[in-house]
């Protein structure tokens, strides 16, 4: 048993529209590419964790096995909102940590092209007598009558609450965060959208839930990502080329939201992220100042701001000044979402928590091409799913 975890192989498909590929095609391709990237095969895997959130795929792990290798290993099909991919990765990490496996595969896949507004269900007319249902004893679905269930609206309030607490936020500030991520995406050939957008274009686009306009919302698209994780002991038996490209997982953390006043009224995405980050920095033995790049869960422009603070990239309450300093642009002192983030790279939900790790790992391997962050040694990948679940992985370049 080893206490070290390494990524041996990792892959993300092009994010975007894949009309001719179904969930199994996308996941299977990502898995095979991750295995090839690591120089290993399905026969070497001792555990598989697979995630798909909205596709109704059921046992996606076994369906993938039936296409690329039914070796009889245990399969864990996981769902954890937008942290599903990170949860699959974390599941494999736990199996290796527990000594039950020394190599395993994690895969996440989603098809969301044209999915429209997430979180919203059509309202129907009330005909018969009112009947109470649900845990609020409501006579009709409360969406639109008592607040909003749309993701854009929930995360808009998350950003606005930060603004209320600390000040300094306005529509333009949030739009400028989106401007940064769209600018970053122009260097990412795997992004669903890689078009630079001006601040004016972003602010004048269709308003979804103030202050989030359409380009400030994560892009629904298709995609998959997969990773092969190996124990340190096993890695030492592999070829020098495999060892050279391996990326060390210095921290792998998953949290849920601890009770806080208001957390069942407006989801609290802050406390569990701060808890995950705190634990991850402890595990890794590094601090935020040691990070060379961060991929964080910018599902909406309003969310990116609060996570600067939650991940302790800035002082508490200092996210606005931190962003205004230019720190989070790719040429700043703490590049955030150089992939383009969920707003332009796209957010095929269950793939996201592995795709973020792929982005960081690719920089640590010095293989990110034109968007390479020079000399990157340590990076952090963060996702959060409402409900809530937060995954944080800290990665380090091989020595």
């Amino acid at each position: 048993m080893s206490d070290e975890l390494w990524i041996l192989g990792i892959h993300m498909t092009k994010f975007g529209k894949h009309p001719d590929l179904d969930l199994v095609d996308l996941a299977g391709r990502a898995a095979l590419a991750a295995l090839a990237d690591g120089g290993v095969a399905m026969a070497d895997m001792q555990v598989l964790a697979a995630g798909n959130l909205l596709g109704g795929a059921g046992s996606i792990g076994q369906q993938v096995q039936k296409q690329i290798g039914q070796t009889g290993i245990p399969v864990y099909n996981v769902q954890n909102a937008c942290a599903t991919g990170a949860t699959a990765l974390r599941t494999v990490c736990m199996a290796i940590k527990a000594g039950e496996a020394d190599m395993g595969l994690a895969v996440g896949v989603e098809k969301l092209s044209g999915a429209g507004l997430l979180g919203a269900r059509p309202r129907t007319e009330q005909e018969g007598p009112w009947q109470r249902s649900g845990r609020f004893g409501a006579v009709a679905p409360i969406d639109g009558f008592i607040g909003t269930e749309t993701m854009a609206g929930v995360f808009a309030q998350v950003g606005m609450e930060y603004g209320h607490r600390y000040g300094g936020t306005d529509f333009e500030l949030f739009a400028r965060i989106s401007e940064k991520n769209h600018a970053h995406s122009t260097l990412n050939p795997l992004a669903a959208y890689s078009k630079r957008m001006s601040l004016e274009q972003i602010m004048n686009d269709v308003m979804i839930a103030y202050p989030n306009t359409r380009p400030m919302c994560s892009a629904n698209c298709d995609g998959a990502a997969a990773a092969v994780v190996v124990s340190g002991a096993k890695l030492r038996t592999l070829d020098p080329d495999q060892r050279r490209r391996a990326v060390r997982i210095r921290a792998s953390v998953l949290t849920s939201d601890p009770w806080q006043e208001a957390c069942q009224v407006l989801p609290d995405v802050n406390t569990l992220t701060r808890n995950a980050a705190t634990r991850a920095y402890e595990q890794a033995g590094v601090g935020p100042e040691d990070l060379d790049l961060v991929e964080l869960h910018d599902c909406f422009a309003t969310a990116e701001l609060v996570h600067y603070d939650n991940l302790m990239l800035c002082e508490r309450g200092g996210a606005v000044d931190f962003f205004n300093s230019g720190a989070t642009w790719r040429d700043g002192r703490m590049p955030v979402n150089v992939s383009g983030g969920l707003q332009s790279k796209g957010h095929p939900i269950a793939a996201t928590g592995i795709a973020n790790v792929w982005e960081v790992a690719t920089h640590l391997r010095d293989e990110a091409g034109p968007r390479q962050i020079e000399g990157a040694r340590i990076g952090l990948a963060h996702v959060i799913g409402l409900g809530s679940a937060c995954g944080v992985h800290i990665l380090e370049k091989a020595a």
């Binding site: 059509p122 007598p129 639109g144 749309t150 309030q157 202050p211 208001a262």
Partner: protein
């Protein structure tokens, strides 16, 4: 006047409509849904407590894109009612960022949200601006 029922079971109608929270006997945590136990401390005893009718807007969004059948635009907000956070729509105010702002003082109000086939009104709550 038609029969009226509250839209949710934590809204009490009458001369002074107000919300009622379920307060944990162990730690004072407040909830609006049907409970099994307290998520903060595990206590299983709750008692109903009235929630302050006035509050301050701690967060809001103006929803302009919603599910089919949900009328837009509307203002969804998180209102701090004297220490108890409440989710609700802002009503009686134009749904634009020129008229809605963080820290705005509001008070609970009610309106008929719909009438069923038997003529019964479902009365919902919202929060309307009050003069500072």
């Amino acid at each position: 006047m038609a029969d009226q029922i509250p839209f949710v079971d934590y809204l009490v109608l009458g001369d002074e409509p107000h919300l009622v929270a379920r307060e944990c006997a162990g730690c004072g945590a407040r909830y609006f849904d049907r409970r099994i136990a307290c998520a903060a401390c595990g206590t299983r005893d709750f008692s109903p407590v009235p929630v302050a009718r006035t509050g301050e807007v701690r967060a809001f969004t103006i929803v302009t894109f919603a599910a089919p059948g949900v009328p837009v635009p509307f203002v969804a907000a998180l209102v701090d009612c004297d220490g108890t956070s409440v989710r609700g729509n802002l009503v009686g105010v134009p749904p634009d960022p020129g008229h809605v702002h963080l820290g705005m003082k509001v008070a609970l109000t009610t309106y008929v949200a719909g009438t069923d086939g038997t003529g019964v009104d479902a009365v919902n709550y919202g929060f309307a601006p009050v003069e500072a």
